[in-house]
């Protein structure tokens, strides 16, 4: 074992300097007063405690300098997540609404979430504290890690490029689903294994490899099925908490790609395997969860009552979204992973059975969620009458924050977040469809103008609605 003493010393000194630099950066760049939600403070405190701990030379004695340096490089991403969690980057009325839902959903189990941004055109949630713990394992003993990182924290990253695209905020509910999946992993895994045992057993009988390898492949397939289940369960939560807005949002996220592709990305760490079911299958599952047909029929009636039939186009479009899943296939990458070519044909062979089991699993879990979280589902249910009234207001370029009543046509009753979200999603789709029929020379400017108007009106309405709800709560308490 040839020791590279000199290089280690240099890397060690560079690491010590980076510890101080990171401390200074946190002190200068992060102002706690502007955090969009309070959970950012808990995360910041953990990072500060870690930096203080690793400033102690005794703690660093057994640490590989290269591992320490690599940890500090990674830590910069964790710091940036917190830097971007201020209201300068995050629309606080929206995340405040979702934060209330989170608290009723998982907050009671002492699971926290804070909101940040990603440069990707997508939404994601990560196990902030779990990831930290995993990286800390290379430089700190378990007892110290558990003492310093004692809270369970998630970081929900919003798509920065879409920060004005309010209807896509429905995806936040989907991301909550991933947190539920992790929080109830044991229970969900038990249900899933029951559903998939026969299929996995049949697959294992087709494997010709030696015992250790066979077992490993089976475990990887098990992880792939778990990740797919996590996506579908998250869709279930998205559909239950954000209704048709989530359906439209998911449909939009699937633009451009094949709707039949089930994608799997293997990883050297099985816990990091990523897999996504085909979009048509996902949309079909949502249609089974929320009674879309009933909702849209009622909405049509309400729109007709308001003599606004030109707003039917989005509803007609949704009716025509293709549903077929016969052409579905699984594609696994990266190809440099030797097992991708073994697993791919096996999953394709059993895909029909796998889909059937997922439908049964979702049915079973839908009942569990509706039973356990009835108050949240009641709170987030969408009303077709309200949605039609708000679409009308958007069409008249009026803030969609009030549902008029016969007695109070002007002041009415304050609109609820979820009704605003669905109305805005549907109205926005009407605009996208309308632009297509306009002449090309006008389309760029008019699309921008009309879409940004809807976004601004929606954002203001959500803010007004949030303040009205808070006022109501405060007034009732008084």
């Amino acid at each position: 074992m040839n020791s590279t003493v000199d290089e280690s010393n240099v890397v060690y000194t560079k690491s010590l300097s980076l510890i101080e630099k990171t401390k200074t950066k946190i002190g200068q760049n992060i102002d706690q007063q502007f955090f969009a939600t309070p959970s950012s403070e808990i995360s910041l405190k953990i990072l500060t405690n870690i930096l203080n701990e690793i400033s102690d030379p005794d703690v660093l004695k057994p640490v590989a300098p290269h591992s320490l340096y690599k940890f500090l490089i990674r830590l910069q991403d964790f710091v940036q997540d917190i830097e971007l969690s201020t209201s300068a980057h995050i629309a606080w009325p929206i995340v405040a609404y979702w934060d209330n839902i989170w608290f009723s959903f998982l907050g009671k189990d002492n699971v926290h979430v804070f909101y940040s941004l990603t440069r990707e055109h997508n939404y994601s949630i990560s196990q902030y504290s779990q990831r930290l713990k995993l990286y800390l394992k290379n430089i700190m003993c378990q007892e110290d890690i558990d003492r310093i990182v004692c809270d369970d924290i998630y970081c929900l990253s919003l798509a920065s490029i879409e920060d004005d695209n309010i209807p896509l905020y429905a995806n936040i509910a989907h991301e909550f689903g991933h947190a539920l999946f992790n929080n109830r992993r044991l229970q969900i895994e038990t249900i899933l294994i029951k559903h998939f045992a026969t299929i996995i057993f049949s697959i294992s009988n087709e494997l010709k490899q030696d015992e250790t390898v066979r077992l490993k492949i089976i475990k990887r397939i098990h992880h792939i099925l778990l990740r797919l289940a996590s996506e579908l369960l998250s869709d279930l939560i998205g559909a239950l908490f954000a209704g048709p807005a989530f359906y439209l949002s998911l449909y939009e996220m699937g633009w451009g790609g094949s709707k039949h592709l089930w994608s799997v990305k293997l990883s050297p760490n099985d816990e990091n395997i990523r897999s996504h079911p085909g979009f048509n299958f996902r949309l079909g599952c949502i249609r089974n969860i929320i009674d879309m047909k009933d909702f849209f029929q009622n909405l049509r009636d309400e729109i007709k009552r308001l003599n606004m039939e030109h707003l039917y186009s989005a509803l007609d479009f949704i009716d025509d979204i293709p549903e077929g899943t016969e052409e579905d296939r699984v594609k696994i990458h990266p190809e440099l992973d030797k097992e991708s070519q073994i697993i791919q044909p096996l999953l394709n062979k059993y895909l029909h059975e796998i889909k059937r089991e997922y439908e049964l699993f979702l049915k079973e879990y839908d009942e569990i969620i509706r039973r356990e979280y009835a108050p949240i589902i009641e709170m987030t249910s969408v009303n077709p009458h309200n949605v039609a009234e708000l679409m009308l207001r958007l069409d008249k370029k009026i803030l969609p924050n009030i549902i008029p009543t016969p007695a109070e046509p002007l002041l009415g009753t304050p609109a609820r977040f979820q009704d605003i979200l669905v109305a805005s999603s549907l109205y926005r789709f009407n605009l996208l469809l309308k632009q297509k029929s306009d002449s090309d020379e006008h389309i760029t400017k008019s699309a921008f103008n009309s879409l940004s108007r809807v976004e601004r009106l929606t954002m203001k309405a959500i803010e007004a609605s949030f303040i009205q709800q808070n006022f109501k709560k405060w007034n009732n308490e008084g």
Binding site: V63, A64, Y135, C141, E189, L215, L266, P268, D337
Partner: protein, 164 residues
């Protein structure tokens, strides 16, 4: 772009880092023979992790349990100790290719699995004894060298995959 192992991130970078921390603990354990290093809790944890990782990779499970869907349920419910289970093939292959292990195996009557298992036991026992006695036991140099060489090979593999 200049390839830089320390600043690159991603799954294979994580694997490299994991292996590096195991390898560092092994180096420190080896250095106890000169009494130049005093081992800490982190060292012992990393050595146990190395033994677990090695065992998951090279010591076969009783596959007879996979004779029904029910047996599969209990098997899949078991947790492996290491996060990087999918490096199993590489670890086993690398050990089989290791020249010192190969010659050790040739001169012995026991098979690969038994020998691999003995290697892990030696590491575990050394760790236990050193911790209990608060004084490092005699370093099993040959076994440590085999571990170190296999870890180095795996780190090189991970380094190449980082850039692919």
């Amino acid at each position: 772009m200049i390839q830089d192992v320390l600043s690159i991130t991603g799954e294979y970078a994580d694997l490299w880092d994991y292996l590096k921390s195991l390898s560092h603990a092994l180096e420190r354990a080896n250095a106890t023979k000169n009494q130049s290093v005093e081992l800490c809790d982190l060292d012992y944890e990393r050595l146990i992790e190395l033994a677990d990782f090695f065992e998951d990779s090279c010591v076969p499970k009783t596959i007879d349990r996979l004779d029904s869907p029910e047996s599969l349920i209990s098997l899949l419910s078991e947790k492996t100790s290491s996060h990087f289970t999918s490096s199993i093939i590489d670890f086993k292959d690398r050990l089989k290719e290791n020249s010192e292990f190969k010659s050790w195996l040739q001169n012995s009557k026991v098979g690969f699995e038994k020998k691999a298992s003995r290697l892990t036991e030696t590491l575990r026992e050394w760790g236990k004894e050193s911790k209990r006695e608060h004084f490092p036991a005699a370093v099993p140099e040959k076994e440590f060298r085999i571990f170190y060489e296999v870890l180095t090979d795996l780190m090189n593999d991970a380094q190449i995959k980082m850039y692919q």
